[in-house]
């Protein structure tokens, strides 16, 4: 059976050639993307960092009260942030939150329209489905290699990987929500004089809203998990102390950073859901 391994099919080489070709032909294009993304994300981080931690904590608590009409969540968020502040991970937490917000925002901006388009065009969805499957099943580390070579070290490859990884959730759930809008509601909309645009805005999107919201919540959690891993290619945030702790077998730092990530995860999960969504 030696003949099986005698000639290796150069799958890996092909991928490498593809990436090399991209860099060679459109290197400037990728550099431009990297620069503009870096500018935007750095702007967001700077804005959030410029707030005094206490002001930030008050803002988050106020948002929690407004969103859930419940004081419990607000108190939890405030205490968590105070603890993180105390442990000395404030800056990293702000960076992580910025990355998650930015990635989720981008995913929603891309994912919701794509999901709506897919629900309206069965052919598009048939083409999209394997792509989405691929995006969700490829191990997250594998994303980092091509984005690293395309965009260079730093925050941008992490961000791009995060967006690609988390994009599938809002697309899928928007698709699901829109295609499950009851026929009679569509007929009613049409019968009462909706144009196609009004049908989308006044009937389909409101009817699919709970599904779209679930997609956004999922997207936030997926982004968070990926943002931490993105520290491997130099993205800032709570992933950095984790990677450093891993390299130096620093149990104390690993535990503290891990705790901060868990707290951020719980906060994001609670804050992304409104009260009747639970």
């Amino acid at each position: 059976m030696d003949w099986i391994t005698e000639y290796k099919i150069p799958v890996g080489d092909w991928a490498e050639d593809l990436i090399d070709g991209l860099i060679e032909h459109s290197g400037e294009f990728f550099d431009f993307i990297a620069m503009s993304l870096e500018f935007l994300i750095q702007g967001l981080i700077d804005t959030l960092s410029s707030l005094h931690p206490l002001a930030f904590i008050v803002l988050v608590a106020a948002f929690a009260v407004w969103r859930q009409r419940r004081v419990g969540t607000a108190i939890f968020c405030a205490l968590s942030l105070l603890l993180i502040w105390n442990l000395g991970y404030w800056q990293q937490t702000i960076e992580t939150l910025s990355l998650v917000l930015f990635a989720t925002g981008s995913c929603v901006l891309i994912g919701v329209p794509v999901g709506i388009a897919a629900a309206h065009r069965p052919m598009l969805y048939r083409f999209l489905r394997p792509v989405l499957d691929l995006m969700q099943t490829i191990p997250t580390f594998v994303y980092l290699i091509p984005t690293l070579t395309l965009f260079g070290l730093g925050v941008v490859p992490g961000l791009i990987s995060t967006i690609v990884f988390a994009l599938a959730a809002p697309i899928r759930l928007t698709y699901l929500g829109i295609s499950e809008v009851p026929t009679e509601l569509l007929e009613a909309g049409k019968a009462f004089g909706c144009t196609n645009k009004n049908l989308l805005v006044k009937v389909e999107i409101p009817a699919a809203m709970s599904s779209i919201r679930a997609g956004v919540t999922q997207c936030i959690m997926l982004s968070l998990s990926m943002v931490v891993i993105a520290a491997l290619v130099g993205a800032d945030g709570l992933g950095k102390p984790v990677v450093r702790a891993l390299n130096t077998v620093d149990i104390a730092m690993g535990f503290e950073a891990g705790l901060a990530i868990v707290l951020v995860a719980i906060m994001l999960d609670r804050l992304s859901k409104s009260r009747h969504q639970e």
């Binding site: 009851p182 009679e184 509601l185 007929e187 009613a188 019968a191 009462f192 004089g193 909706c194």
Partner: protein
């Protein structure tokens, strides 16, 4: 007001393929087997006059909803025409472009749905306002109309509630208000009361009739319930396998069913609310006469002697002679005397029975100022037992 002309509706891809087969007279299942297409409606022609309620009746799958939906373009018409009365006279709905169709849907023709089809995220008032906002009315105008409609269906206190907080009957009232708010001439109603309890259904039927008396809309109503059809319809079109098998008045549907399918449908209906005196009576010409008197009942020694006018006629019961009295639709039956009564030929069977019960005498039927026949117990039993239908 609205006219369906040779309408075919075929569902599936490239529906033209089925038209030739349809013309050859192939059945639905044969067409489905050869082309994979479903013939929803075939060769349906129907004309609905202004201000009438026309009921499309049939079992599920008979094509009644499919036909209804061609009228506002929710279903495509594969062949044929749907003509609507507009300001420019009768116009073919198919010939309109999307914008014109939209305009027709907002100004001429509106719809009430079987499962209510209310937007669950909007309040009752917002639901009623839904179509008005599409029309682009001003906010105050929308609010006035919404409040007016909610008052009309008795739901003013529920304006700020969500549909899910309302019972089924109330939800359909909202559906009705949403349609009425559009102030169109034509309302399509697709089994609007089928999802409701019998008691509530009855209430809403009465309410629809009450509203119809005020508003005088043209209604095309789909139902699978013959009693509902008989109660509401000025005309009934019975559909089977996509075709209209009979289009007639309720009374004619019950008395002269076109075929076995219709006969099966009407076999179990209660004739009391449908059949009129003229169908019930025994004509004078069929009564035996003796000495210029008609024999109404030999056993009871009951005789009729015609006078110059119906009211001058006299009825003899053994040796006792009776005057006659007139009953007209607006006088209460309780005020009638215990003597024979003259009723008009269009009086409902139910009323005839009540008069017979109250006066203790037979009922004479008048048409064009002449006594045309007599209704005795035998005639009533005859109809109640469904024998009227068997005679045909």
């Amino acid at each position: 007001m609205i006219e369906f002309k040779d309408v075919d509706v075929i569902f599936g891809k490239r529906p033209e393929r089925a038209l030739a087969l349809l013309d050859q007279g192939m059945s639905r299942s044969e067409i489905l087997a050869t082309t994979g297409l479903t013939a929803g409606v075939r060769n349906a022609s129907l004309s609905v006059a202004k201000g009438e309620i026309c009921v499309l009746m049939g079992l599920s799958g008979s094509g009644k909803s499919s036909l209804l939906r061609t009228a506002n373009g929710l279903n495509p018409i594969t062949r044929g025409e749907v003509l609507l009365e507009t300001d420019q006279g009768m116009q073919n709905f198919l010939a309109f472009n999307e914008a014109e169709k939209r305009k027709i849907r907002m100004d001429r023709i509106t719809m009430v749905f079987q499962k209510f089809a209310l937007m669950p995220w909007l309040t009752v008032a917002q639901n009623v306002a839904f179509g008005l906002e599409q029309k682009g009315l001003e906010r105050t105008q929308v609010r006035d109309r919404v409040m007016h409609q909610l008052e009309l269906v008795g739901l003013s206190q529920w304006a700020t509630k969500k549909p899910s907080e309302l019972s089924g009957g109330m939800q359909q009232r909202v559906g009705l208000a949403r349609a009425l708010a559009m102030e169109t001439d034509i309302i399509l109603m697709d089994e609007p009361f089928s999802a409701l309890d019998p008691l509530i259904r009855n209430q809403l039927q009465d309410e629809l009739l009450r509203l119809q008396e005020q508003l005088n809309k043209t209604v095309v109503f789909v139902s699978h319930d013959l009693d509902e059809a008989l109660k509401l319809g000025n005309h009934i079109a019975i559909m089977k396998d996509g075709e209209i098998v009979q289009h007639d008045t309720p009374e004619n549907i019950v008395l002269n069913p076109a075929d076995d399918y219709v006969r099966n449908f009407v076999a179990h209906t209660n004739p009391v609310e449908v059949v009129k005196a003229k169908a019930l009576l025994t004509p004078l010409s069929e009564l035996p006469t003796l000495n210029g008197e008609y024999c109404l009942s030999r056993r009871h020694d009951y005789w009729l002697k015609l006078g110059e006018t119906p009211l001058n006629s006299r009825v003899r019961f053994g040796s006792a002679e009776h005057d006659l009295q007139n009953w007209s639709a607006d006088s209460p039956i309780e005020s009638l005397l215990k003597q024979p009564t003259l009723v008009h030929a269009n009086t409902l069977m139910k009323t005839v029975m009540e008069i017979r019960y109250h006066t203790g005498h037979g009922v004479l039927v008048v048409d064009e100022n002449k006594v045309v026949g007599y209704i005795g117990d035998k005639d009533i039993y005859h109809a109640m037992l469904g024998k009227l239908f068997e005679d045909e």
